[in-house]
């Protein structure tokens, strides 16, 4: 099954509540997938720093003094904020790639969840309630976000097998369904130079979109491409730095419901994910059409 949610705010006054609203939406879909859960939050941009969200199975030793060692390695100030098994490393935007490389040498066991100017990604094995509590997601602020609760059908039940998958700066994707041609697409993307961390089909979809956008397509055009190039069942919900997109395959057997008001656009696998949103009773509620791309940008 899997449960997916997304929330794109239009009304700035809701931004302090983004984490709480998205958490509530995700927790309501817990019984769609007990294996792992994850959330990506797009916060406010800062002119002089970008972020890398990292994860470690031994946070106590891996995160200790990482900021000091990293600052020395890249020659720029670095800060680190630890949250349970995850940490957000901040440094100058121009130093992000260098920091990423240095980190893999300094701490070979850490895993990079995502990076960019605004995105933070938290994902772990376990139910949504446990995951949002562990990372204090309810207190997070932001402009938009996506979330996922996983019933594993492809690849292992591990932290890295949890969604969202992020394969480009500030880009991430959650998926309900299963792809049948992911091995072929993965091989083509590897030939292009993309790197993969798991055997998961969803990571391929995320990398496909990153590759399309790296070739100059906008989010809408990249999503359009999934309809011809990816085979299988899917409902994708995608976040970019300033955008939010949804697409379903032409058979559209995976459930999806959307709501739009003057204040937000929301996505849920089921209507119950949307029932606590403000003004939902008067929202425009609809099921996204098969093989149709929907996207919004700030």
């Amino acid at each position: 099954m899997c449960g997916i949610v997304g929330l794109f705010l239009k009304d700035k006054s809701l931004e302090p509540k983004l984490g709480a609203m998205l958490s509530e939406m995700l927790v309501s879909l817990s019984d769609r997938g007990p294996d792992s859960a994850g959330i990506a939050i797009y916060g406010a941009p800062s002119r002089n720093e970008a972020k890398i969200t990292i994860q470690s199975a031994k946070p106590a030793s891996d995160f200790r003094d990482l900021d000091i060692e990293l600052a020395k390695a890249i020659g720029a100030p670095v800060s680190i904020a630890v949250k349970s098994t995850h940490a957000v490393v901040r440094t100058a935007p121009a130093k992000i790639d260098e920091a990423r490389e240095a980190m893999q040498t300094l701490r070979p066991d850490i895993r990079i969840m995502g990076a960019g100017d605004v995105v933070e990604i938290y994902k772990e094995v376990g139910l949504p309630e446990a995951v949002v509590d562990r990372f204090d997601v309810r207190k997070m602020t932001g402009t938009h976000g996506i979330g996922h609760t996983r019933m594993a059908t492809e690849s292992a039940v591990t932290t890295m097998g949890a969604h969202p998958f992020s394969t480009g700066a500030d880009q991430c994707l959650v998926h309900n369904g299963s792809l049948s041609n992911h091995n072929n697409v993965r091989r083509e993307l590897i030939r292009e130079g993309m790197k993969f961390e798991t055997e998961n089909d969803t990571e391929v979809a995320a990398a496909y979109l990153s590759s399309q956008m790296a070739h100059g397509k906008n989010l809408g055009e990249a999503l359009e491409g999934t309809l011809s190039d990816l085979d299988g069942f899917f409902t994708f919900v995608v976040g970019t730095k300033n955008g939010f997109g949804v697409v379903r395959d032409p058979i559209a057997c995976k459930p999806a419901v959307m709501a739009e008001t003057d204040q937000y656009v929301a996505f849920g696998s089921e209507y119950r994910a949307l029932t606590k949103l403000p003004g939902i009773d008067n929202a425009r509620v609809w099921e996204p059409e098969p093989a149709t791309v929907y996207f919004w940008e700030h």
Partner: protein, 243 residues
């Protein structure tokens, strides 16, 4: 058990038994409905705050009326046998799945596979229905005031599907003997489904269905009828590509 008339749904001579799902569990509601015995005086039920819950009023087998005040999730009214269920909101996937008799009225929209495999009774959707409406229907009558999505009435075997709006792609794919009446545009017909002549008996049948579903101001002559070309009943190697 005779089908409950829609007109009876609103006339209660006693107070409703109210279940507030903010207070009671769904299991308590369904158990109380399953505990009903023939001749029970508890004929009117009201369900508050369903909040998209799954399986609301599934498996009811007594002629009671149930008003659900809000939107429901999967399988509302599944296997219904004789009750009249009104959803004052929208319904998730599989509303009225495998209904035997009685009626379900959805005031809002319905999600995928509304009325799937239904053997009898009447399902009315006052808004739009989504894909696979009436898939494998086996005798149920479905009336949709709005539009229906793709692959509706796939492998439909018996019963009537009435659509006042438009139908999506592949309507009636691999259909057997169900009758499909569509007033608006049909994006495409599925394998072995064809437009058919609307004879006097069909106009009469359709008028009856519209009346039972509370549709007024719409004439049966505004609809087109679709059904099976019956070329795929028996395997014929020349049709291999069509199966």
């Amino acid at each position: 058990m005779p089908a409950t008339k829609l007109s009876k749904a609103a006339t209660h001579d006693q107070a409703s038994r109210i279940f507030d799902l903010d207070v009671s569990s769904l299991r308590e509601l369904n158990q109380a409905l399953h505990n009903l015995t023939p001749g029970s005086n508890e004929t009117a039920w009201e369900v508050l705050h369903p909040k998209g819950s799954h399986s609301v009023a599934v498996g009811v087998d007594q002629p009671v009326s149930i008003d659900v005040r809000g939107s429901v999730g999967y399988y509302c009214g599944g296997m219904n046998s004789g009750s009249t269920i009104t959803v004052h909101g929208s319904a998730g996937p599989g509303v009225g799945e495998n209904m035997m008799s009685g009626s379900i009225i959805v005031k809002g929209d319905a999600s995928q596979y509304a009325g799937a495999t239904g053997k009898g009774g009447l399902l009315v959707i006052e808004g739009n229905a989504s894909s696979r409406c009436g898939i494998s229907m086996k005798g149920i009558d479905i009336v949709v005031h709005g539009n229906i999505g793709h692959m509706s009435a796939f492998m439909a075997q018996s019963g009537n599907l009435v659509v006042l709006g438009d139908a999506g792609d592949a309507l009636g794919d691999s259909i057997y003997e169900a009758r499909l009446f569509v007033r608006g545009n049909v994006d495409s017909l599925g394998a072995d489904c064809i437009a058919k002549e609307m004879r006097a008996e069909h106009l009469e049948l359709l008028q009856g269905l519209l009346d039972r579903a509370g549709v007024t101001g719409v004439k049966p002559s505004e609809f087109k009828r679709y059904g099976s070309a019956r070329t795929l009943y028996n395997f014929n190697i020349d049709n291999a590509d069509a199966y």
